[in-house]
Amino acid sequence: MKDESIMSENQSVTQEVLDFQTKVAVLRQEIGRVIVGQKEVVDGVIACLLAGSHALLEGVPGLGKTMLVRTLAQAVRLDFSRIQFTPDLMPADIIGTTVIDESANAGKVFEFRKGPIFSHIVLADEVNRATPKTQSALLEAMQEHRVTVGRTTYTIEEPYLVMATQNPLEMEGTYPLPEAQLDRFFYKLAVTFPSREELHSIVDRTTTLHEAEVKAVLERQEILGMQKLVRRVAVARHVQDYAVRLLQATHVQTGKAFDKVQRFVRTGASPRGLQAMLLGAKIQALFDGRFAPGIEDIRSVAPLALRHRILLNFEGEAEGVTTDAVIEQILSQLPESA
């Protein structure tokens, strides 16, 4: 009986993993109709969606960041809103505002008009152009998935995904995101310049009459189901231990810090970074059709999950050291088992 029960459960799990893989593959293909290349960014955005968290996309203008988010929203049949962040954008502009509603029957009543933040997928375009005050308006929504206005708290419907973009080159008139807000982003994805072949494809698609039609391939409930499946994936102790040691290695205070950490890091990654690594590794395993993540999965998602959570000191900034370089040294020197 026991064997049969195990067998039955195993069949069920295997089927769920197969379904998951298939859905992701379909979603990738649908996004691929519009977005050329950028596999890592696309997978990262999908991973953020399945982890129920948010993504920060960084790249120079014109690389298709906004297009990617818009395409994703179309492919998953979810509400989508776009907020173009500007220096004069006010919190109320994104959260919503209370207005006097005058009706014939009820007379004048105050009514809360929800802002663009109340969507499943929110594109915060050029998020670093808004003032910190406005940027901070996103904090509660991103962490708690709810918004409090006055004495009323409004819950945002799941799934909820904020995708912020920022331009690393333009520093004039921008407000770097505060550390607390950066920490809320699951991944920070670097949108790189396309390759030669990819540029050919981009030109072919955008300078002809060809118009890509993106269809919704995933329903909201399916996405919620996939999010639950991700959290059911088991993590072996040694894998989890590796992730923990990796996170500790980003801190100078642990006493085991590596050379670059010792010299250039002011503050290491927060426990949210550890959560992001483990969830990301689980999603990575499911993408591959495996039932549990391995250390390699942790290593592959570590840069995405930690690069925006490590703060460099003045020396690091002055010498142009990137957090990716610090993480790379840690990954190359940290033993896999201890």
Partner: protein, 666 residues
């Protein structure tokens, strides 16, 4: 939907565009095939043990690789040390102490090496090292490691995902290869270790011969014996003084060799060993009659003296022999010959009878003594033989008999020794005995012939005296050799430190700056003085040896503390037994009134005190006739004390040394 993908299903329903073919790899494809194979489940779960075995195998190989890598990395240390140590041992042939330290060092190094290697073997890189190694090699992305980790959990704690992960890994279990995943690695240091090992082996078979004679023949400058210039000068002076007087040929030769040895030491051409070797050779050549034999010779002379004293005519001769005054004895013998020869007043018959008997008795002393010894020897010999026979008959000797036997053996040995000594002494006086015997025989018959024999006896006496004089010179030279040997021995006992001490001692002896508390203090003398006695004292007044002082002079400013006396009076021979009343003295008179009084002694020119002579000589470098006399007085006393064993043996060297250093200089 069976094992088909959802994407394919949707594509067939036309809801979504055809999905791309997704590579499902192990989990999806194999696990999908696994569906429905319920029988295989139990079997597969059992196969987790196969995974464990392979993981352990891989881990063991990895640990062995670590062990070899560590052992080879650190092996050049002990091997290199062993090679250097072995070379040192083979070339230098060190003493046991050095070899012990070498072995200890080697043992520590080998111990450290074994410890490091053992640590490398015992250290585990983690619980799932084997699984991770297999995962890496087979690119399984942690499947084996995860499965082994999940399998450690109890069944109740496992989730369906864990079970699925285990089954997924079990599927690939048979394909895992620990030997390929962890191949044996040859450490980088292998060539070096092999070369060192065979080098060491070759070295152990190699024999290095050291020719030590060559080293002795050409000593390094640093090994040459160095004596203080002062010492070299001292021995040169001695050598020159010995060479001044005429000597027998063998003594002259010995003195020349001694002189050459001193010159060689002075020019730092000899090693310490070489000096001792030459000293030994010289002393061997100078070896003469032992003290016991000398005593026997003196006894023989005394025996003859007592025999000769029985006659009035030969009494003076006997007394001269008794005093060991060979020159006088020769004269007396010649006088006796003259008396016997003279015709005007011939000796009367009773005198001649007595003289004859005395001469006969004197000439037969050796024989009589030998007869006495032989008789005693025979007696003891028969006694010892009786005891020995008893022992041979296997009759146990009583304790008393055993004691008697030992006593008899000891006495026999002593008698043998005495016989040898008496024979040797008799040989020295054989000529004299012969002449005395012949003179005695002819005395009553023909006086002229007897007188001639007596004159020949006088010549024999002269030869004996000369021989004895030569022996004395040899003794003198031997004494100097002993001094030199003692000096070298003292110098060698504590190396450079001893040398420094001796130099410091020399400076102080010559009146140089000594340690605080030593040296003289200025004082004042008053009244007419007389040079006091020289006193060498070990235990204070009463036990010293006094040498009467010469005429004194009034005290003069300056002087030294005890050791010199001023004014009249003599020193007591015994310790005092009483003491003054009021040992503690009067209380300090704080309100006393004092007046400084200055007295200057008047120089009457009646002679300087010994202290003045010594002090003055020391300032001028130990020169001056007066100083030579004072020095001789003091030295004589010192030698006398030393010869009577009144000074501990350890201090004699320093006393002699002191007198060497303060000897009068030209």
């Amino acid at each position: 939907m069976g094992d088909g993908s959802a994407a394919e299903g949707r594509a067939s329903m036309g809801q979504v565009p055809p999905a791309p073919r997704v590579s499902l790899r192990f989990a999806s494809v194999r696990a999908a095939r696994f569906l429905g194979a319920s029988k295989a489940l139990g079997k597969s779960l059992q196969q987790i043990s196969l995974l464990r075995v392979k993981a352990r195998n891989a881990e063991a190989r990895a640990r062995l690789n670590r062990l070899f890598a560590t052992a080879f990395r650190w092996a050049p240390g002990p091997l290199g040390y062993a090679a250097i140590g072995l070379t040192y041992v083979k070339v230098v042939h060190p003493s046991d102490g050095s070899s012990g330290w070498l072995l200890l060092g080697g043992g520590l190094l080998v111990g450290a090496w074994l410890g490091i290697s053992a640590w490398a073997w015992l250290r585990r890189a983690g619980q799932s090292e084997g699984g991770l190694l297999l995962d890496h090699f087979h690119e399984l992305k942690g499947r084996v490691g995860n499965a082994l980790s999940f399998a450690e959990l109890p069944l109740s704690e496992r989730t369906p995902f864990m079970e699925a992960a285990i089954l997924d890994a079990v599927r690939v279990g048979p394909e895992l290869s620990p030997s390929r995943a962890v191949p044996w690695l040859i450490p980088r240091e292998t060539p070096l270790v092999v070369v060192l090992f065979f080098g060491l082996l070759g070295l152990s078979l190699l024999e290095v011969r050291v020719v030590r004679e060559a080293e002795r023949a050409a000593p390094k400058a640093s090994q040459a014996l160095v004596l203080a210039t002062d010492d070299v000068e001292y021995f040169k002076e001695i050598s020159a003084r010995l060479a001044e007087a005429p000597h027998a040929a063998d003594v002259n030769q010995a003195i020349q060799r001694f002189n050459q040895l001193v010159l060689d030491i002075g020019s730092e051409r000899l090693t310490r060993d070489e000096v001792f070797r030459r000293l030994d050779a010289l002393e061997r050549d100078l070896a003469d009659a032992s003290d016991a034999e000398k005593a026997a010779f003196e006894q023989a002379l005394k025996d003859r003296a007592s025999a000769l004293k029985s006659s009035q005519q030969s009494r003076a001769l006997g007394e001269a022999l008794e005093r060991h005054d060979m020159a006088n004895a020769e004269k007396e013998l010649k006088k006796l010959a003259e008396k016997v020869r003279q015709q005007k007043q011939p000796l009367n018959r009773p005198d001649l009878e007595r003289l004859k008997k005395a001469l006969e008795a004197a000439s037969q002393q050796t024989q009589k003594r030998l007869e006495r010894i032989e008789a005693r020897r025979q007696e003891l010999s028969s006694q010892a033989r009786g005891l020995l026979n008893k022992k041979k008959d296997q009759k146990p000797l009583s304790a008393q008999e055993a004691k008697e036997q030992k006593e008899a053996e000891r006495k026999l040995e002593r008698l043998d020794r005495e016989k040898r000594e008496a024979t040797a002494a008799g040989k020295g006086l054989a000529g004299l005995d012969k002449e005395l015997a012949e003179a005695a025989q002819k005395l009553m018959k023909e006086a002229g012939l007897s007188a001639k024999d007596l004159e020949q006896g006088a010549e024999q006496m002269n030869r004996t005296a000369q021989s004895e004089s030569s022996q004395q010179e040899k003794q003198q030279l031997k004494k100097r050799l002993e001094e030199l040997r003692e000096l070298l021995r003292q110098q060698g006992q504590a190396g450079k430190e001893q040398m420094k001490r001796l130099l410091r001692f020399g400076q102080r002896a010559r009146g140089g700056k000594g340690v605080p508390g030593e040296g003289g203090e200025p004082g004042e003398a008053n009244g007419k003085g007389q040079k006091g006695p020289i006193t060498l004292s070990r235990n204070g007044p009463g036990e010293g040896i006094d040498i009467p002082g010469g005429p004194g002079k009034p005290g003069s400013p300056g002087g030294q503390k005890p050791g010199q006396s001023q004014g009249e009076g003599s020193q007591g021979a015994e310790y005092g037994t009483g003491h003054a009343d009021g040992l503690r003295g009067d209380s300090t008179q704080l309100d006393g009134k004092f007046k400084d009084v200055s007295v200057v002694g008047a120089d009457t020119g009646e002679g300087a005190a010994s202290a003045e002579v010594i002090h003055g000589a020391a300032q001028r470098g130990f020169t001056g006739r007066g100083y030579s006399k004072v020095y001789t007085d003091y030295r004589t006393v010192a030698e006398s004390v030393i010869s009577k064993d009144e000074v501990p043996a350890g201090y004699r060297f320093y006393i002699r040394r002191y007198f060497q250093l303060i000897r009068p200089r030209e």
